[in-house]
């Protein structure tokens, strides 16, 4: 056995349990055991009348709030899209008007040159 193994034996030698360990174990044995949780029974409890209302409310709130959020976001997106289209139309209109004015100015300047 190597020195390290000897040292490990010394480091991992058994230690004394706390003096009242046995008493504590017996105390815990004597204490009534906490009832085990039955998930199905708890789920069934949720479906009984007083709780059922809250469950229904939660389900409705959980469904309506996200749908309202999505609808609101869609509404804003559509408004934004419409504003963008109007802006593009206005820019195009302004561009065509400008072009028209440029054309007129050019024609007048050509007429002046001939005179």
């Amino acid at each position: 056995m190597s020195y390290l193994e000897e040292d490990l034996k010394a480091a991992l030698r058994r230690v004394e349990a706390p003096p009242d360990f046995t008493a504590r174990v017996l105390e815990r044995l004597a204490a009534p055991e906490a009832p085990k949780r039955n998930w199905w029974a708890e789920l069934a409890l949720l479906l009984r009348p007083p709780r059922l209302q809250w469950v229904a409310l939660s389900v409705i709130a959980g469904t309506v709030i996200p749908i309202a959020g999505i609808h609101e976001r869609e509404q804003r997106r559509m408004e934004g899209e419409m504003a963008k289209q109007q802006l593009v139309y206005a820019v195009r209109l302004a561009g065509s008007k400008l072009h028209h004015v440029q054309k007129k100015v050019f024609e007048i300047s050509q007429t002046d040159r001939h005179l």
Partner: protein, 184 residues
């Protein structure tokens, strides 16, 4: 464990299986050191180790009927303690912070007699991964051979030997560095 205690425990097993608390208390007294030490060397936390050891004995009380002999009892206790320690360590790693009411009261004060080297080695063992750590604790605390450890931890003997070899290499390396730091 001394022969007298073993005989006493053997006698007690029969009546304890029928629900006799005094005999069960005898069993707890005879094995509490082993189980508490396993938990303490593995978890390195006296409060948690005590809680864990208590859980092992509570489970033993529920399964007393299936215990056939003193040897079986020791095997059963070591097996359950090893499993519980590994499970507890996984929970602790997953939920590193405890709620205040979940922290067990410190029942026992840390002994001051640990030498510097033993203390350092104990901490280094606690830093090993779960399974190699349990292999090392069972090997050097309980003096079990690889075949016995393999049976307890449900792993091949070759794996136990490989865990031991690698753990010793890691510990040798870390200890050299730790001792170097202490010496400085």
């Amino acid at each position: 464990m001394q022969q007298g205690t073993i005989d006493h425990v053997q006698e007690g097993l029969g009546t304890a299986a029928e629900g006799g608390i005094p005999d069960f208390a005898e069993i707890v007294r005879a094995h509490q050191g082993m189980i508490f030490s396993l938990a303490y060397h593995f978890l390195r936390d006296r409060g948690l180790a005590e809680e864990m050891a208590q859980e092992v004995f509570l489970e033993l009380h529920r399964h007393l009927g299936s215990i056939e002999s003193s040897a079986h009892l020791v095997f059963w206790l070591r097996k359950v303690a090893s499993r519980k320690c590994i499970d507890q360590n996984r929970r602790r790693s997953f939920w590193p912070k405890f709620r205040l009411d979940e922290i067990p009261e410190p029942e026992a004060k840390t002994r001051e007699t640990d030498t510097l080297l033993s203390g350092a080695l104990g901490k280094l063992v606690a830093s090993l991964p779960e399974k190699p750590r349990m292999v090392v604790v069972l090997r050097y605390q309980e003096d079990l051979d690889p075949a016995e450890i393999s049976e307890l931890l449900d792993m091949p003997v070759a794996t136990v030997k490989s865990h031991l070899r690698r753990s010793l290499d890691i510990l040798r390396d870390k200890l050299a560095r730790t001792v170097g730091e202490i010496a400085l």
